[in-house]
Structures are given as C-alpha cells and as structure tokens.
Amino acid sequence: MSEQQRRGGDGKFGEYGGQYVPEALMPAIEELTDAYERYVLDNEDGFMDEFRERLRDFGGRPTPLGRADQLSERYGVEVYLKREDLLHGGAHKLNNALGQCLLAKYMGKERIVAETGAGQHGTATAMAAAHLDMPCEIYMGRRDINRQRPNVFRMRINGAEVNPVDIGRGTLKEAINETMRDWATTVETTHYVIGSIVGPHPFPSMVRDFHRPISAETKRQSIDAFGRLPDAVVACAGGGSNTMGIFSEFVDAGGLPGTDPATNEAGAEDDVDLYAVEAGGSSLAVDEERGVAPNSASLSTGTEGVLHGARTKVLQDADGQIMESHSVSSGLDYAGVGPELANLVDEGRVDAVNVDDDAALEAFHRLSQAEGIIPALETAHALAYLEEHDDPSELGEYVVVNVSGRGDKDLESAIEETATRDLPNAPEMGVFEGEGGLR
C-alpha cells in the first residue's frame, strides 16, 4: 500500500468518494482530516494506544471467533462466526463510535451528534459519549424509532437526546440529512459521529480504520483455530462498516501503526474471497414511478451518484432523485453504500450479493435454533447467503461470517415480520397473540 493510500489518499476510491458538502462544513472537515492523519494514522499523543486500551477494557475486545458446529454440519463446510455481537452494546458499531468520540475529545470538541438507523450506532455512540463524559444528541427516523424501541430506550438511559425525524420515509437517509443540518449549525463545537463508511472524506477511511480490529483479530484467530486464513469471509452490507471492518486486512494488510505483525505475515490476502451481502428486500425490481426501491441493494442495482457527501453507488431514478429503500432490517435500509466498498466491487475484489427479507428472517430463526445465538436482522442477511448456495462448499473449506450484532433490538420486529409470513422454521407464533392481537 502506498503512503498516499495509507493516508486515505485524497479521499478518492477510483471514481468514488470525495467531499460533497456545504461550504460551512468544509473547515471542520479539513480539521477532521488533519486530526485523523495525526492521531489515527500517526498515533500522535498515543491516541491509538488509548483507543485500543479502551476497546479492550470498555468494549470487551478481542471478540471470539468460534466454530458453528451445527451450521458446519448443515453446509458441509467449516463455518466460523466472528462474534461482534459480543462487543459491548451488542454490535460492531462500538469500535467506530468509541474511536470517533475519543477523537472528538482529542480535538477539543464539546458535543456529539449522530444519526442512527437500527439504533445500534446511536446506542454505541450514546454509550461511548457517556463513557467519555460528552453530551450527545441522536437523530432517528420516526419509522425506525417504531421498529427499534429497545435501542431508543438504551440511548435515552445512557443520557443521549433522541430527536425523531418525521420528514420523508423516516429511515436512515432522512436521519443523516437531519444530522448534517444540525452539524451545519453547530460545527464549531460539535463533532458528527457518522455511523458507517459513508459520507465525505475522511469519514469512509477513518470509520474503516476504527473497525480494522475485527479484521486483524479474524486473521490471527483463524490461524490459531485452523492454521490458515479462511477461504471466504461473508458480511452484511448496509453502509458497509462491518463489511470493511472484517475485509480491510484482507484487502491491504498492516494499514495502521501497531497492527499485530502476525496479521501481516499471514499474507495471501488475495486468496480470501470477500462477500458483501446486501438487503434484497422484497424484490430487486424498482418502482420508478413512485421512486421506491423495495430493496437496499445499492451495490447490486444502484448507479453512480452523489449522496451525503460522497460519490458512490446509490439507488436513484433516471433524474438522479434518491429512491426510498426498503429492508426488514433498519440497519441495512439505506439508498447508498460506502465509496470504498463500491470501488472494491467494481474492481472485482469484493463480490456483491443479496438475499431477500424472507431468507433473512429464516436465517434469523435458524441461527437462534441451531447455535443459540440470536443475530441482528442485518447479520441474518450474511447468514442467509450460506443457505442460498446450492453447494456451499463452493465457498471453500473455511468460511467466516461476521456476526455484526445481536438480535435483541430486533425482537419486536421479528415477531411482527414473522407473523406476516409463512416461514418453514419459525416457532409457533400464536403464543405471542395477547388479547389485543399481536403486540
């Protein structure tokens, strides 16, 4: 990797990336780029040491890589699960939230704002902000608030304000718009903790780097567990942060100072196949007339455009109006995707695939029953991809799936969505019907 690339370059990944934001934000983005280069890339003032220490002591890293015995038997391949669901807060999101809140502190910022979709990033940010004693405000679409009540409560009890966003369809896209508006007003004192590898440079590179420990640990743990690197790594992609988190060291090893030398020496990254699993929703077809995509598969079906500060693949109509996306999992329900991931797909380094809502729900029940792990609906997409294969052995002998988060937050949605479908492996749903029907 060249020095230019290591530094996140000019924020361009092939044709993608860039900084498409209002002028009012540009000085803050310049300041953040400078801070990212100094503290994260050069470990100035021991920033990365403190980050790693807090990830360990507060976050609970490293997370385990464990063999999924029942799934391995079912698919006839060795399935290993990277357990980001065991990270503090219940999802990979804490890596980034903690990294950015700490960076904000080093930069002397006084206040944190963030958007959230599934509420998982909001929860992680609220926790990190409380941990570092910083005031925090979270924007969340009204529809997502209704889908993710437990996480809303978690944010509130960690001391964050949760601001509902009513405009549009009330999902992640609208929440990002609203957080950008807040940031444009308060930019001099506030840091915007964006929740995925999206947005203007340096966010995509910086967020990726905060999630790199997932990848570094996976490499080391694979060697410990089965003596070599996996043949395939599978992760779900909304914005793409858990994807790039677990892919990054396979794409370019040793991206950060202090990376475990063992992970670099493992080498042979190109032999590891990387799969980004998107939300196919209810259909890959698009309703141009209504401007609605009944999926969130921007890598598979999107076109090049500019959304939320970056040029990337987006779901849009012929004019360039951004479409409303859809997924059963609110964390994947977004019309764009990270520019680096989009570029890796174009380059053929990452395969973009997708599974639909039904397959994800089935996988949600399957993992719960087979392994005693209730996955987030987002994660369930990655797991469903194994099932979609007629012959999973095509993936290779050893397959690692990134369990990006746990499903506690999704229980209400899962009850509701399961009840409307004929899933072969769902438990008897009648027991959930109280006097007033479901819920």
Partner: protein, 281 residues
C-alpha cells in the same frame, strides 16, 4: 454557444433583490405565476430551485417546498420546460444539488446539464453541496457555455478557502449570513458584516449578496447598509406559498402577497444604500 450570462447586469447600479422559489411549488402552473410576481416586485435576479430529494442545506420551510414540488410532479425535464415558459427578463440562477447536475444526459458529468440549462435561459448555478474541492468540472462546463458559478461563503470560511472561492466564482458571491440551514430569522447575525469585510479584503470585484434568514424591510436595509450588494430571500417568500397552499387561497392572491413582500424587500435594500451613504463619513 448560447450567449452569455446576464447576471452582471443585475448588480449594475442599485442594490439587488434576489428572491428564491422552488420551481413547481406547490404545482407547476401556480409556481409560474409566483415567479413572475417576483419580477413585478422588482427582482433583479431570481434563484430558481430545482427540487432534489435530499436538500441537506435547507431548513424546514424549503424542505417542505421541495417535497410539495416533487409530489406535484416536478422533474428535471419539467424544470427546463418551466424555465422556457417563464415570462421574465430577470436573470435566472438554477439552485440545486450536484447529483441532479451530474446525472443529467447520457454521460456522467455536469456538461450536458449546463448546456441544456444555458439553452433554456439559465444564467448561472448555485450548488450548496459542491465545495471548491469538487467544483472543477462544473466550473469548466460553465466557462464553456458562458454561465456563472456562484459560490457560497460561510461564516466558517477561513482566509485560504475564501481566496479559493473568490477565484472559482463568477456572477456574485453568496454570503451565508449565519451558520446552519436556510430559514427566516428575526435578526441578521453580526457575522454578516464580518464576512462582508473579509470578502472585501480579498480585493474581488464580484458583487456580494447576503442570504440565510432575511425576511423583512429592516433586515434587507441593514444588510445593504453593512456593505452588501444584494439580498437573497428564500424562506420568507416560500412561507407565503406554503400558507396559500395550506389555506387553499386563490393563486392570484398568493401572487399578490409575494409581490407585496417582494416590493418591501426591494425597498428595504434601496433604503440600505441611503443609510450606508449617511453612515459614510
């Protein structure tokens, strides 16, 4: 080649009144009348919004206008029809977000959009999500078709960035009166005069138009008195459109109200020159 931008003439002489409306808000026909009413009110240049689904720089008033216009069937093609059907002589600036410009035409990039816009009579562009870093291709397309690219100067813009913006821009500079998003406010921020002074120090002869929050005669007067060459007014006018829509008021009545507030703002701007003159020693 489709001629040259008429924007410089708008700032020739007296202080300019530059209103903004979203094209197609709340529907195509009414919107035509509203824009024409603003010309009668004395508009020197009109910022005509091309609605984009993610208006990140707008406050609630203009966000809702954009939603109404999109729901009313506004598209890029309809926008160009709108522009060509408009019966105004005032220079027109297309205010929109980069994705619509970038996506237009068969090949990606801003040139096809600029070519078409120029052919329909658009004189310039203001694109709030396009900082100097990304504006190169649009600047080139504007040069090729004799159009202006108006940059927004924010209160946070430092010396170095300011120079870059001045070098990039033509037509006028849009001085953002305060941080945040668009929306009418009770008072104009102190940072306005500071920004105006900083721009003057660069030695540019680009006109300086101030926007974000201006809604009254007094504010227009004060902004001009502080040294601006023009006032940009959006949300205060859009509020009238919204109210007319919500109360089912006849289009002609709403147009009349727009014209009335427009005149007041133009008069405020003119009054600012006198204040400025009397303040000068």
């Amino acid at each position: 080649m489709s001629g040259q931008s008429h924007i410089p003439a708008a700032f020739d002489g007296e202080p300019a009144f530059v209103p903004y409306l979203a094209a197609g808000d709340p529907n195509y026909e009414a919107s035509l009348e509203y824009v024409e009413a603003l010309e009668r009110a004395g508009a020197d240049c009109i910022e005509l919004g091309l609605p984009f689904s993610e208006p990140i720089a707008e406050g609630p008033t203009i966000q809702q206008a954009v939603v109404r216009a999109l729901e009313g069937g506004m598209t890029v093609e309809r926008y160009f029809e709108f522009v060509s059907e408009l019966d105004v002589d005032t220079p027109l600036v297309c205010m929109t977000y980069y994705n619509l410009i970038y996506r237009y035409g068969d090949e990606e990039g801003p040139e096809p959009f600029v070519e078409r816009a120029a052919a329909e009579g658009i004189d310039g562009f203001v694109v709030p999500d396009l900082p100097a870093e990304e504006a190169g291709p649009l600047r080139e397309a504007c040069d090729e078709h004799g159009r202006d690219l108006v940059s927004i100067v924010a209160p946070t813009t430092g010396e170095e960035r300011l120079q870059r913006l001045v070098d990039l821009s033509s037509g006028y500079l849009y001085i953002q009166a305060r941080l945040g998003v668009t929306g009418a406010r009770a008072s104009v921020s102190d940072r306005t005069s500071e920004s105006l002074a900083r721009v003057a120090e660069t030695g540019t002869d680009l006109p300086r138009a101030v926007g974000f929050g201006i809604s009254s005669f007094e504010q227009a007067r004060d902004v001009i008195a502080a040294g601006a060459d023009g006032v940009i007014v959006g949300s205060a006018l859009v509020d009238i459109v919204a109210e007319g829509h919500e109360t089912d008021r006849p289009v002609a009545e709403t147009a009349a109200e727009l014209e009335e507030l427009g005149r007041e703002l133009k008069e405020g701007a003119l009054a600012g020159t006198e204040t400025e003159a009397s303040q000068a020693d």
